[in-house]
Symmetry: C2
Subunit: 232 residues, 2 copies
């Protein structure tokens, strides 16, 4: 039994070290919680927390009855903070400014109905707006909101507060899908973001649901040179 290695962080370190030095090679099964608790001289709950967190990080794969294995494909998980645009801009020290460009109710186009699994006659509120940092274009927001799912939407005017910020405060959600990609600036986008046509644009798309009901689809196009960073 190892002495005085009883914190869950210590156990994580030991386990990681054993994986790195191939004591427990990728794909291999590692001892059960009771056995490890005895070896480390701690309670099973402590081992459990260490192993659970390593599993969350994608290092281990745990299954009841089958035991705990070292993950073969070392999938790392990167965590990105997705803040409000306003917060993001203000955190750089720049002044934030918001402008509503368009606001209109439509019957959802086919591509959107497909994306959100909407019915044929579903109505959506389409919004386009700009977010500026010190008066330089920071982000263009293209948003569709499923009107049936957000019933007091008619009372929101979106002239002073962006749809993202409004929705975050008014509308709960349970599921989010995010996609990152690189797209080309078309004529409109180039105009809005002060780019040349054909320039690359970092784009994120987001769909949110409330327990199965689609709420909104949004595409965010960022100005020149934007990059999304994280560290862990």
């Amino acid at each position: 039994m190892l002495p005085s290695k009883n914190s869950y962080t210590d156990i994580k370190e030991i386990v990681l070290a054993r994986i790195r030095d191939h004591t427990w090679p990728p794909g291999s099964i590692i001892p059960g919680e009771i056995e490890l608790a005895e070896e480390f001289g701690c309670a099973r709950a402590t081992v459990n927390r260490a192993m659970r967190e390593l599993a969350e990080d994608g290092i281990l794969d745990r299954k009841r009855k089958a035991g705990t294995r070292v993950n073969k494909s070392p999938v790392r998980h990167a965590k990105f903070a997705i803040p409000l645009v306003r917060i993001e801009v203000e955190s750089t020290g720049a002044a934030y400014r918001y402008t509503l460009l368009n606001k209109k109710i439509f019957i959802a186009p086919a591509w959107l109905r497909a994306r959100l699994s909407l019915g044929d006659s579903a109505e959506v509120l389409h919004l386009q707006c700009m977010h500026f940092a010190d008066n330089t274009p920071f982000q263009f927001e293209d948003r569709w909101i499923n009107i049936d799912a957000v019933h007091n939407i008619e009372n929101a005017d979106f002239t002073t507060i962006g749809p993202n910020e409004w929705l975050v405060n008014e509308m709960p959600f349970t599921d989010v899908e995010i996609a990152f990609s690189a797209r080309v600036a078309d004529k409109k986008l180039a105009e809005y973001l002060s780019l040349s046509i054909g320039e690359p644009v970092f784009t994120t798309e987001r769909i949110t649901w409330l327990s199965g009901t689609p709420i909104t689809f949004a595409r965010f196009s960022f100005g020149r040179g934007y990059s999304l960073k994280t560290r862990f």
Copy 2:
């Protein structure tokens, strides 16, 4: 005391509901763990786990002595899986193929020294390689490895196994910085990825350290139409 709401997931749901209906508005302090444990009729450890996970998700902000507050800026954290390219390609059902294009040792150029905090005469191994999915270009990898930090690097030949995969298996690391952006395809990149010059390219850059020592800088440029997705 609420009856039969004693699992940590139940508690998370209740807390989220109270935040959504503004029982506990953003920025407000919420009751301590002992009080909540009494209210929910469960142990403090159970409340603790619920609150800890909500704090990890960025919903709550916890401080010893100061208590637990509802986070003002609703920063959501998106978790992205960063798998090996090979796994990523194979998971789509395509056949994976790898090619080494260049391999040469240099004195680190100034921009790289700045990025990795290297000394003036630091040597780096520069590698360029391609990853294919069913013989269509999937990813171009441009990598610099700090030779001093990876001492058995001379024995690796990288003709059959990519540097990413080799490093993951041989070299532990403690810190990673990842950045996503959209870049323009220059002549070489267009050639490698079968693109036109000027096309947008989804790019990720990664720097890894082992307890303060820089290991490697890598830039990954993805083929047309690639997008990184996550759901939570």
